[in-house]
């Protein structure tokens, strides 16, 4: 348990710093609220449309691929911690074993790249009917800056 003290100190210091930064800026900072200031904004631009839109499935695909490769890498970690200090027979056996393991990993990676799973092009991931409505007009029309509707 003693080995955790360093981590606990780090967590405590990080918590103190975070709480101090947030609470001090809240206490000391000037608060002049105008309707314009408290209106929602998006990257400095007035938002257009609802924020509660459905997201394209390509986000999900990237996330699930990340998880699967993440889990494969987790197994490498436990192997790396013992590889150097082991006897030669274990090193040889576990190395070949790891190569076999990694070959399926690489197979999955090649498949993901070949079929364009991490391709960000919407023409391959979106429903064709939806594609004509949403993506193509956006590509043609330039975004128009709209003047703020409330406040000044």
């Amino acid at each position: 348990m003693e080995s955790y003290i360093g981590i606990l100190v780090l967590v405590a210091v990080a918590a103190i710093v975070c709480v101090a930064m947030v609470s001090l800026s809240w206490v000391l900072g000037p608060k002049k609220v105008t309707p314009y200031k408290s209106s929602p904004y998006e990257c400095g631009v007035t938002p257009e449309g609802s924020a509660r839109e459905r997201f394209p499935i390509k986000f999900y695909l990237v996330a699930i691929l990340f998880i699967l490769f993440d889990i494969e890498v987790i197994f490498l970690w436990s192997w790396m911690t013992i590889y150097r200090d082991s006897e030669v027979s274990f090193q040889l056996f576990s190395f070949i074993e790891m190569l076999v393991y990694m070959s399926t990993w690489i197979l999955g990676y090649i498949y993901a790249v070949r079929v364009g799973a991490i391709d960000w092009d919407e023409t391959t991931s979106l429903d064709p009917a939806k594609l004509e409505d949403t993506v193509l007009p956006k590509l043609e029309a330039k975004p128009v800056l709209q003047p703020a509707t409330e406040g000044s």
């Binding site: 390509k58 986000f59 999900y60 699930i64 993440d70 013992i82 274990f90 074993e97 197979l107």
Partner: protein, 172 residues
């Protein structure tokens, strides 16, 4: 058997209580994003429970995989489904459904209890020996006793990759 309140027990009580409360929060909150954030906290406290049991590898894996990756996926799913107004989720109270729910829930609880209580009462040792759940020990066991499950896990992950791409991709 009188229970002695030790610092270990207090830490366990704190973590277990927090884990149980956040688990209730996951099902009790009506807003899906709040439920998901409760789940983050639940995974996190579970990881700390693993640390107190000296299962370091499991605890770190819990944080990296579950709180890091799987929660992001959950949030993506919430955004994909786009749960609009919460009134849609309202259901008419159905006594048969409720009764069956309690019945099956109780049965599941009983099933788990029969498996857990007996070994729990027989344990005399409070902790696993030092280094029991360390990455070194797990790595050593993985390449001696559990080589085949390890390889099968990699094939399972490959199937997961191919399956998820096939399901989510419109045109391959």
């Amino acid at each position: 058997m009188p229970v002695q309140v030790t610092p270990d027990l207090m830490i366990f009580g704190l973590l277990a209580g927090l884990a149980a409360m956040t688990a209730v929060g996951v099902v009790a909150f009506r807003n899906a994003v709040r439920s998901a954030l409760c789940l983050v906290l639940n995974f996190f406290t579970l990881a700390f429970l693993y640390f107190t049991l000296r299962a370091e590898l499991l605890g770190m894996t819990q944080i990296i995989v579950y709180t890091g990756a799987i929660m992001v996926l959950f949030l993506f799913v919430i955004m994909l489904l786009n749960l609009g107004s919460l009134q849609v989720l309202d259901e008419r109270p159905d006594l048969i459904k409720k009764g069956l729910g309690f019945l099956f829930g109780g049965a599941l609880f009983g099933l788990i209890a029969t498996q857990v209580v007996q070994p729990f009462l027989q344990t005399s040792q409070q902790f696993a020996p030092e280094g029991f759940g360390s990455p070194q020990a797990v790595g050593r066991t993985l390449f001696t006793s559990y080589v085949w499950p390890f390889e099968i896990a990699s094939i399972l992950l490959l199937i997961g990759i191919v399956g998820s791409i096939l399901l989510a991709k419109r045109r391959i």
